[in-house]
């Protein structure tokens, strides 16, 4: 292993994941506390959360349509936006971990494993892309 030892490599990835989880959990935590001070977050009828075995679908989407919209809601202190941001960070975390791993493999001139990382990243991107169309 040239330049960067496996030991350092593993430590970098471990720290990165730990840091990401901390940021995400803080954002969700802030949003949760914020939501206690509002009876009706995001115009959403709270009792709808329970769906008492009715299995009925939610009519209102709770997701934000664009990052701009989410960003705006974050700046206004919207509780749901802070929770959503935390969840997004969490979902993006493994994806960024794959990018980071790929970059380290490239730095080590391990082109085969750089290719494998790229393949995993492609699959992950397809997931995001297909989800958008649904």
């Amino acid at each position: 292993m040239n330049k960067l030892s496996m030991h350092t490599f593993e430590t970098i990835i471990g720290r990165f994941l730990q840091f990401g989880v901390l940021i995400s959990a803080s954002s969700i935590g802030l949003g949760l506390i914020g939501s206690w001070f509002r009876s009706n977050p995001n115009g959403f009828e709270f009792k709808d959360m329970i769906f008492l075995s009715s299995g009925r679908e939610i009519h209102e989407s709770l997701a934000f349509d664009s990052l701009n919209e989410l960003w705006f809601a974050l700046t206004t202190g919207d509780a749901t936006a802070w929770i959503t941001a935390g969840i997004l960070i969490l979902v993006l975390l493994p994806i960024m971990r794959v990018i980071l791993t790929g970059a380290i493999f490239l730095y080590q001139r391990d082109y085969l494993f750089f290719g494998i990382s790229a393949l995993v990243l492609t699959t992950l991107s397809i997931g995001l892309y297909l989800g958008k169309g649904l």
Partner: protein, 292 residues
């Protein structure tokens, strides 16, 4: 149509606090037995709180990422995780997970309940099976693919007080099994570590500790493949998924710290009994009256 509203639905505080507390317990128990929290959180949300299984799956998949990333940090730091093996197998798990999440929308809810009860049963069997003394594969006897990919490695064994070198076998079979594990993970919103660990320790000859740590490391990426899709199609409700993710994370961190101090044998049988009971309940839901 709705009947009376349960106590926890009267205020957002009681609802969220209940979710967090239950998720802490799920994460704690899951970490002690090496299972994800999803296997407990999904039955709880659907059977007890009456949440639609699609949203329960959405909430669970987020908590799977949280637990994996939270725990991976310490495993990776202890140098037990085999990152190269993880990367190779992630090609298969992500492809499987993506297919699972795509299929989930068109599979009847009854079938999801049925599948879930089968996975619960498998996990229970996994937990009580006798572990025979595992033989470590000498690195020079490994599979040619493993040699070409340089998958053989070593890890510090704290019990034996020395570093163990090991070889990796059956990479192709392992990848195939991972495709299946990923599919189940994407379909049901669980980490499916109960399938990943045996695929690595039985099929690929990885030492048990390396298998668990590497499985935990992979679970996050597997879950992310389907979580992206679930997020985009609106199955992940922030108010449900947020408290669950934070709760499971806290529980998993507590559980992994306490794990070495616990005498787990008795607790194990209690937990297996609980798993079997949940399996029966989930099976009942798959053949019982439909609520749709």
């Amino acid at each position: 149509m709705f009947g009376s509203v349960p106590f926890y639905a009267h205020s957002i505080i009681s609802f969220e606090l209940l979710l967090v507390v239950v998720s802490v317990v799920a994460g704690f128990v899951g970490a002690i037995f090496g299972l994800g929290g999803g296997i407990i959180i999904i039955p709880f949300l659907t059977l007890v709180m009456g949440v639609n299984i699609r949203y329960a799956i959405g909430a669970s998949i987020v908590s799977v990422i949280a637990t994996s990333s939270g725990a991976a940090a310490s495993y990776v730091r202890d140098h037990i995780t085999n990152i190269r093996v993880a990367m190779v197998l992630e090609v298969a798990t992500t492809a499987g997970a993506l297919s699972g999440a795509l299929l989930a929308g068109s599979i009847p809810k009854r079938t999801l309940f049925l599948l879930f009860s089968i996975i619960l049963l498998l996990s229970a069997v996994m937990m009580i099976r006798k572990r025979k003394e595992q033989e470590i594969l000498a690195p020079e006897k490994c599979d040619p693919i493993a040699k070409r990919l340089r998958l053989n490695s070593e890890y510090p064994d704290q019990n034996l007080g020395r570093t163990i070198s090991y070889g990796v076998n059956n990479v192709a079979l392992g990848s195939f099994l991972m495709l299946f594990a990923g599919l189940i993970s994407g379909l049901l919103g669980i980490g499916s570590g109960a399938l990943k660990v045996p695929a690595m320790d039985s099929a690929m000859n990885l030492p048990l500790k390396v298998s668990s740590a590497t499985s935990n490391f992979m679970i996050g990426v597997t879950a992310a493949a389907s979580a992206g899709l679930y997020y985009m199609n609106g199955s992940i409700l922030p108010i449900l998924a947020g408290p669950v993710a934070v709760g499971v994370l806290i529980g998993a961190l507590l559980g992994s710290h306490l794990m070495p101090k616990l005498d787990s044998q008795k607790v194990r049988y209690v937990f297996v009994t609980i798993l079997l009971l949940i399996a029966i309940q989930m099976f009942g839901r798959s053949i019982g009256p439909s609520y749709e």
